[in-house]
């Protein structure tokens, strides 16, 4: 029962979107600005690096996420210590989902109120996206969304996603979908978080984008212009 409450709570959290491209992965997320008095954290608060080959986006209770992120980082390092190679994405996802599932079974404790989008690369399946929710279920995707408006985001993704899409187009698609599902009229670097997974010299490289870089990307992608058009029509 508690799981359903947790799932419902996440449906009010800021949207996060993941798009799988042939040469990489894009994660984009909306950061909700709750009050203008609130000190704006310049570092990412919804994107986290979990290992040299994996990062994730968070929707839900940030404090709960912190616990799980810590667990996953430790687990990834434990795997590295034993096998001397990066943990496969699905292995890590399964392990954290086992923890999540555990909290749905025992009385007295509440579930983790967190959904994740995982993005990573390993030599088993290449680039991969997974989502997990408080129940401890996980699934793999070409493009997906968690948090508020995730159903409409997924509808948009289903319309516009094409197999074999490249990373640049995936970036644009992610921003476009985010701009349409977000409540605020205009995307700004204060409201958007952005991360990519790529291969450089055949090794996975992760990047959580800085506000200035996001600003530049928003300009180049032309997403804001389209949004302005939308505003005008309204």
């Amino acid at each position: 029962m508690q799981v359903e409450y947790a799932l419902e709570a996440i449906n009010h959290a800021g949207t996060a979107i993941g798009v799988l491209a042939e040469d990489g992965i894009v994660l984009a997320a909306e950061r909700k600005v709750t009050s203008k008095l609130l000190e704006q954290d310049t570092s990412a608060e919804k994107m986290y690096v979990l290992n040299d080959n994996i990062l994730c986006a968070v929707a839900g209770m940030t404090a709960d996420a912190g616990i799980l992120i810590n667990y996953m980082r430790e687990e990834a390092q434990r795997y590295l210590s034993v096998y001397n190679q990066d943990i496969p994405i699905e292995t890590l996802v399964r392990r954290v989902c086992n923890v999540k599932q555990g909290y749905t079974q025992h009385g007295g404790l509440r579930p983790f109120g967190v959904s994740f989008i995982f993005a990573g690369y390993d030599d088993r399946y290449g680039f991969q996206i997974y989502t997990s929710n408080p129940s401890g279920n996980y699934s793999g995707w070409k493009a997906t969304s968690i948090g508020a408006n995730n159903t409409s985001a997924e509808t948009l993704l289903k319309q516009d996603y094409k197999d074999g899409i490249n990373l640049d187009d995936a970036k644009k698609l992610a921003l476009k979908v985010l701009s349409k599902t977000t409540d605020s009229s205009k995307l700004t670097s204060e409201k958007v978080e952005f991360a990519t997974v790529q291969l450089t010299k055949k090794q996975p490289s992760l990047k959580i984008w800085k506000p200035a870089e996001i600003e530049k990307l928003l300009e180049e992608s032309g997403v804001q212009d389209e949004n302005d058009d939308k505003e005008d029509k309204n």
Partner: protein, 194 residues
């Protein structure tokens, strides 16, 4: 007084282990198998204190089978070597450490011939040729002289025969010959040293 020898060649890996199972001054068994098959392309050979050896080898074998079931993919050779090293290094600081030396032979990712030498402390080195036991003192110098990186399995077997001849001539202990196993693209098979 047991021996394990490994040779990595172009198209596979050869492992040979002594056939005698000895206790004190008695040979208990003349056809002992000191190897365990871990998965399609990886095999482990061991020497050390009897009891510890089979116990540890079975434990590794079981865990590699478990890994394959859980992950749906076999662990690659480098991963297995690291895992074994980790187990032995952990065991070394426990109340009763396993006294087992390991040769791991396989095709890494089902492709690249791979040979790893791991001693009971967890010291791991990946080598073109390796040996455990007193036999190492005799055969390592033979390998230094005759091993070539472009050797084939056939050449490898010839080299192994030289090792056996040397041990038969110079080594004072009878070990009832070698049991030979080969890992190549087709998998793992037993072989004979005529």
């Amino acid at each position: 007084m047991d021996a394990a020898i490994g040779i990595r060649v172009n198209d596979g890996v050869i492992v040979a282990t002594s056939r005698a199972c000895t206790r004190s001054i008695t040979i208990l068994k003349p056809d002992d198998d000191k190897t365990r098959i871990l998965n399609e392309h990886n095999i482990l050979a061991y020497t050390g204190t009897s009891g510890d050896t089979t116990q540890f080898a079975d434990y590794i074998q079981g865990n590699m089978q478990l890994y394959s079931m859980r992950e749906g993919v076999d662990l690659n050779s480098k991963g297995i070597a690291s895992y074994i090293r980790h187990e032995l290094a952990t065991s070394l600081r426990s109340r009763s450490p396993y006294q087992v030396n390991i040769l791991l032979a396989g095709l890494d990712k089902g492709d690249a011939p791979f040979l790893s030498n791991i001693d009971y402390m967890g010291t791991r080195v990946d080598l073109p040729y390796a040996a455990h036991g007193y036999a190492a003192f005799y055969v390592m110098s033979l390998f230094d002289r005759h091993y070539r990186p472009d050797m084939t399995l056939k050449d490898g077997m010839k080299l192994l025969k030289m090792c056996k001849a040397e041990l038969d001539e110079r080594f004072p202990v009878v070990f009832k010959g070698f049991q030979v196993k080969v890992v190549d693209k087709e998998g793992i098979h037993s072989s004979e040293l005529e």
